[in-house]
Structures are given as structure tokens and as C-alpha cells.
């Protein structure tokens, strides 16, 4: 009898303990997890303050920000192919079209039709591809020239991205004199921000004028992208960027972000500059990592003058298809807290975002809406912006 009582008591204790364990864990979750004391426990992020030197000024020339000319055609093609996760090389866009229609393209078949023409006869290659591709007149491209003035007055020139359409990019390069600069090897390197069609597929246009220009790509590039570099006729020094920070020259660093991007692309690289006496300037191709993550990473890792964010240039990837999401308003609301002095944006930033930036009173540098750029709300094709001059 007494043993029975002991057993019952023990069982009751265990029942209570088992119940209490689950209740206690959930109660703690609810009462502590979202409190200020829970967050005061989080370690403060220690700023690494990596010194990457300083430069005197930079000037950015927008070679082309118009990556495509018709949103409905671009997103319609993606939609028809099965959505934003479909591999970009299968979309059947030039220069990887095979004429088989939506989502039936392939890198091998596309490049097979033009490989022999790269990079010397881009006109013929593009004409051939236009016959096979979906919406062949839609491609444009993103590319800009960055001129960095070192502290000793030397000017270093770099290309960020190389656009998409061979036809459009050739015209844009000629318009801004990039073809001559490349031929004369004035441009010291080409940085590809990410593997997307509108930033990377125009590579043969750069290679045509300088096939040995040092080239930097993110280590998330797929085998098709790496093969395309070879198939474009590139013979130079390819750097696969695998470090978070790569210093290029004093005051200029390439930052790597491992971020998943639509149409199976992975990873973005962007540029950071320290302008002497002014502060940090951030330049991006598409900024898929987000401008605030970009800024936050720079703040956590880099040392820059006045400890101040000075300027931004590039595609900020907010409403590239003029779509919207409430989280984009989070960005519009919070960007002001970072106190950038000059905001030069375009491309995938979206017109709607630029409009909202202007409405919020941010120092957006407006453009001239020339050469098929659609709005004066941001820096269009052929427009320039300077930082520190």
C-alpha cells in the first residue's frame, strides 16, 4: 500500500514536472523574448574600422542605366517562363536565345549560334540572336564609368558592369567615349556587380575593345557565367572575388555580399570609397543586398573620414518593375536616418522609389532624362555625378 502511494506520488511529480517544463519554456519565450532586457543582452557590434586609405574625389558617368526598355515585356517573359526563379540562361533572351521559345533556351545552344563571332563581329552576332530571341529590342544594359582621383592627383578609371545588348552598349560606349578609353587601356579594371543579364551579358562589348582588362566577378557565378567569360574572347586576368573586402587602390574597396537574387543568380559585389575630408561613398550595380545592409556592412567594417556617410550612386534595387511592397516604405522611411549628403540613384531603384525619396526630402540628384532615360527624378543615361570635387 505504501509502495503504491509512493508510486502514485512519484507519477504525480513526474506529470507535474513534464507539464511544468513545457509551460515554463513557453512562458519564458512569451515573457522575455521581445523585451528590452532581452535585447540589452545582445553584444554590441564591434566596428572593425579597417583602414583602406583615402582618395580625393570620384566622378561617375552613367553610360547606361536603362537595362530594359519595357517593364511589361521583361516581366511578362519571366512570368511566361515560370516566374522569378527560372534560370536566366533558359529565358530565351539574346544573346542566349535558341528560337525555341519561352523557358526553352539554353546557354550552350545560344552561345553556339554566335561564339565564332565574339568579340570581333558583335553587330552580326546580335542580329543573329535578335532573330531567335523573345522581345529582341527590349535589352539595354547597366554600366557606369568611375573616375577616382587619388590623393596625388592621379586619375584611375574603372568600369562597373558592361550592360546587356551588344547593340545598345556599343552605342552607349561610343557616346561616352568608353570604346577609346578601353582601346587605349585607360580603364584599369571591369567589376561585374552580379551575373544578371543586364549587367553582365554585354561583356563582349568591353572585351572587343580590351580583351585583357582585369575582370572581377563574385564567387557565386554559375558555370555558364564563367564559361561566357571565356566564350566572349576574354584573355585577361580574372579575379573570382571570395573575400568580403578587397582593396583596389587607396580609398577604394570592393565589397562582396552573398545574397540570393532572382533568376537563379547568387551574390553581388559593390564598391566603397573614402573621400578625404568628406566621408564614405557607396556605388552599386543593383544593390541586391540592400542599400542599408550595404551601409551597415561598411559602417561595421571600414574606416572612413569624418565617420560620415557622404554619397550613394547606382541602382538601389527597390522597385525595378515599378512594383511595390510595404517593406520598401520601411527603406524610404529609414534611409533618412543615415544622413547621406548626395543620393544619385537610377536603374532598379525604380521611378516610384525616386519619387518617394524626393517627397521625403532626401538630397536626390536629379537627371536630364536624355538618351531614352525615362525620368528626370533620377540620374539618366549620360548624366554625371561627382563626390568630393
Amino acid at each position: 500500500m505504501s509502495n503504491d502511494n509512493k508510486n502514485i506520488s512519484r507519477r504525480d511529480f513526474v506529470k507535474g514536472a513534464a507539464t511544468g517544463l513545457v509551460v515554463g519554456a513557453f512562458a519564458s519565450m512569451g515573457m522575455y523574448s521581445y523585451t528590452s532586457s532581452a535585447y540589452s543582452r545582445l553584444p554590441k557590434v564591434e566596428r572593425k574600422m579597417e583602414d583602406f586609405g583615402a582618395c580625393r574625389s570620384i566622378r561617375v558617368t552613367n553610360i547606361s542605366e536603362t537595362s530594359w526598355f519595357n517593364n511589361a515585356h521583361l516581366i511578362g517573359d519571366i512570368h511566361a517562363a515560370g516566374g522569378l526563379l527560372v534560370n536566366q540562361y533558359t529565358l530565351n533572351w539574346a544573346p542566349f536565345a535558341n528560337g525555341k521559345g519561352s523557358a526553352k533556351g539554353s546557354y550552350e545552344e545560344g552561345i553556339g549560334s554566335i561564339k565564332e563571332l565574339l568579340p570581333h563581329d558583335l553587330k552580326k552576332a546580335w542580329e543573329l540572336q535578335k532573330k531567335l530571341a523573345l522581345h529582341p529590342d527590349n535589352p539595354g544594359g547597366y554600366s557606369c564609368l568611375i573616375e577616382v582621383e587619388a590623393l596625388d592627383g592621379t586619375i584611375h578609371k574603372y568600369l562597373l558592369d558592361t550592360g546587356w545588348s551588344y547593340e545598345w552598349m556599343e552605342d552607349s560606349f561610343k557616346r561616352e567615349g568608353i570604346d577609346k578609353m578601353l582601346e587605349e587601356q585607360q580603364i584599369e579594371a571591369l567589376f561585374i556587380s552580379h551575373e544578371h543579364w543586364d549587367h553582365f551579358w554585354g561583356l563582349p562589348v568591353t572585351v572587343k575593345y580590351d580583351n585583357r582588362i582585369p575582370l572581377y566577378v563574385h564567387d557565386g557565378f554559375y558555370k555558364e557565367g564563367l564559361q561566357y567569360i571565356k566564350d566572349s574572347g576574354y584573355k585577361g586576368d580574372l579575379t573570382i572575388v571570395d573575400k568580403p573586402i578587397t582593396q583596389i587602390i587607396p580609398g577604394m574597396a570592393l565589397l562582396k555580399f552573398d545574397v540570393p537574387i532572382i533568376n537563379r543568380v547568387f551574390g553581388e559585389t559593390s564598391l566603397a570609397f573614402n573621400i578625404q575630408g568628406k566621408g564614405l561613398v557607396l556605388i552599386s550595380g543593383c544593390c541586391h543586398q540592400g542599400i542599408l545592409k550595404f551601409a551597415d556592412f561598411a559602417q561595421a567594417n571600414l574606416k572612413y573620414d569624418n565617420d560620415r556617410f557622404y554619397g550613394i550612386y547606382g541602382g538601389l534595387h527597390i522597385s525595378p518593375f515599378e512594383d511595390w511592397d510595404p517593406k520598401y516604405d520601411d527603406l524610404v522611411i529609414s534611409l533618412g536616418q543615415w544622413n547621406f549628403e548626395r543620393i544619385g540613384c537610377n536603374h532598379c531603384t525604380g521611378h516610384l522609389t525616386a519619387k518617394k525619396f524626393i517627397e521625403a526630402g532626401y538630397p536626390v540628384v536629379r537627371g536630364s532624362a536624355r538618351f531614352r532615360s525615362a525620368s528626370k527624378d533620377y540620374l539618366g543615361n549620360g548624366d554625371k555625378i561627382s563626390f568630393g570635387c
Partner: protein, 467 residues
Amino acid sequence: MDNSSVSYLESRKLVKRWSGPIPALVNTIIIFAFFYATWWIFQDPRGIMRMYTPYVGYMVCRWLLILFIWVAYIFDFWPFKRSWLNKTHPLIKGGILTLVSVAAMVILIKGFFIEILGNYGIAYFNPARLEAMGITDFYAIEYAAEAIMMFAAIASWLSPSWVVACENAPWQKLGQPARGITIAVVTFFMSMIVYFLTMHSHMAILFYPWQKFTAICPPYWEEFANTVSGNFHIAWIMCCTVVVWLFETIWQRYPFNLIKNNALRRLASFFGIIGIAVALCFFLYYAQDLVWGETIRGTRRLMAPDWRWLHVGEMAIFWLVPSLYLTFYCNNWPTKFSRPVNVCIRTLLTAAMAAVVYIIYYKTSHLFLGTQKGFSHPQQFPMIPMIWLINIFLINVWFMDGWPGWKAVPKTEAELEEVKEEIVASDVTWTSKLAKGLAVGLCIGVLLYVAIINILPWIGANFTIIN
């Protein structure tokens, strides 16, 4: 008590056709094969219909889930007769009931949401209207699908809650279809209210300028959630959806079924589920901050508060998969201890299994599901394949009686009495030892929580799931 006085699901007992783990193994293989085949046909971005855009695919699997809940739980399979359910081969039964659910889903989405609500009420439910007003067709379809899907997300918490927590009260004595129609209408109406309070403002912000005259913009949750995105609500609503099933399956309605008073038990269960869900929601949000660092408002992906809230719901759904699997295919193992001990072991076990499923999913899903690599891509919604898989579990267990591994036999009178024991439990009574155990258990629970939040930063610093 006889079989006809309880619901079909309660009236039957699923008996293994073969001994040992063979039925579970056979069903698992068939379910995964069916999952992969149907995923390829309907959802996979590389497959045939490619509904994973993602919102169209998300809307479909969410509404399928609701329809299954309505057919089995709310309508108790009406208008199908009990004799038909008992005699028909599971394959035929599964096929017919699934097709009926799909047909009802199409009527509801196309007929009610798009054509009626979208044309005569709120424009954003109808993609054609959005497109006519200048929105790109892709986003017109995605926005409408998102709105319709969110209705289902709310309903997939409230509909089963009314059956499980509220025990169908006060309509439990009504016959079918009166009971089904009443509960469906009431939960649909409640879903509509919750939708307007939680998601309408989110939808309004999609359109420029903000629809300030028709929605609260910026919304009331902005300061608390650190975002204007409705993903904040998705977090706790998804946790509610998951907790209601944990409560029904691995927890066997414990501990609220210790309350003898009907009204009190039902109220405690309904609001208890919400309370537990909110606790889980806060923890899962905090856990991310511990692993990945504090959020930055306005940024994108992993570091954004809106994505972290969404990911709370995604993490919760990872818990539901092993919980349902344990209940359906492992006979709710373990069952040999007292109910509180069984519940405690199942909770810890399924939470650990959820972590394993989470890791496997993110390591491999981009390879075999056609989704994007990475945690936080805007088109990466693990909720879609997880719910797709859960839907297949439900078809197999609810509509096909667990065929081929199991078959349905009528419950005996004694077994039917056990159903009542689920609703009002009598196996735990208050004693001083129980109180002592409870106090000790509470301390251990708190310590477990403290241990976890101390381990998480170390995990964040030392483990990489995706290279």
C-alpha cells in the same frame, strides 16, 4: 455511444496492414513520390504548370488546406454518406474527395474572391482590374493572389480552432449541413475581420499613393513591429495555425482539457492557443536576432525585420511537418507514459526534428524543388512545399484512411469512450506532489529556455547551413 454519434474521423480506427515500421515506410515513400510528382506538375518553376510564382502556388496550397479542413472537420464529409465513406476503396474515396475540394477551391477563388469581391468590393482581389489600372500583369496576379492567400492563412487558424478548441460550440448538436455551414460562415466572417485588422493596410500600401482614405497607413503596428509590412501578422497567425494542430495532435488537447467546465475549457483553449502562438512567435523572432544579429529596418532579406517576421511563420511550419508525421504515421509515439510525459517528450522530439527538417530543406531545396538558394530570397517560401506536403498527409490520412499502410475499422464502444477522454481529461488530478513537480518543471523549462538563448549566438557564429 455508437459510431454515428461522432464525426467520421473520430468513429474510425486506423489499423496497420503490416507489422512494425513497414506501413510507415511504405506510406512515406508513396507520399514523397506523390509530393515530388505533384510538385513538378503544379509548382516547380522548372516543371509543367509552374504555379510557384510564388503567390499563385501559395494561394492554391493554402486554400486546398482550408478546403480539406472544411470537408473533413467542419462538414464531416457531408454530403457524402457515412456508409459510402465506410465502404468505398480509399483510392477512389481519396480521388473523389480531393477533386471535390479542388473544385470547391476553384469556385471560391475564381467565383467569390476574383469575380464577386474583386469586381464589386475591393479591386485588389481581381488581377484584371489591377492590370487595367496600369500594374504589370505579373504583379497584378501576384498581389491578388497574396490577398486571397492571406484570407486562407487566417482561416486555416480559425476554422480548425473552432472545432478543436471551441468543440464546435454552440452548434455542436446541429446536424449536417447546418453545422458545417454555420461554422464555415462564422469562421469566414471572423477571418474577414482579422484580415481587415491585419492585412488590408499591408495590401493598401502596395499601391501608390498609399490608400490613406481606405486603410490605416502607416499602420498601427509600425512601431512595435519595426516595419509597416503585414509580415508581422503573418508571424503570429502562422504560429496560431501551427499551435492549433500541435494542440490537437501531439498535445492531445492537454492541458486545457483538464478544465471540466465546458465554456471555460473552450475559452481557455481558444485563447490559450493564441497565447502560446504569440510566445512562440516572439521567441522565434528573438532566436533569429541571436543567430544573425539585430535587424536593420528598411534593409532587405536576412537583416530586415519584415523578413524575420515572415521567417517566424516559416520556422513554425517546419515544426508542424514532423508533428503531423509523428501523429499520423508513428501512432503519436510515445504513448506508454502518462499523457503529460508523452506530451513533453513529443514536444521536445518534434522540435528537434523540426530543426533537422529546417537544415535539410535549406541545404537541398534549391536542388530538387527549383526554389532559390538562400534563406531570404523574396521568392523563397518554404511554407509552400511544407503545406503542399501537409496537404498530401491530410489526403492520405483523412480521405484515404492511411492507405496503403493502414485501413479503417470502426471503433469499439470502449475506444469511443477514449474520444471523450480527449475532450475532458481525468488522468491528471491536483495533488501536492503534482504541484511540486510543476514547480520543478517550470524551473527546468525556464532553464531550458535560458540555455537555448545562450547557445543560439554560438550556433550563429560557428555553423553555416548554406555556403
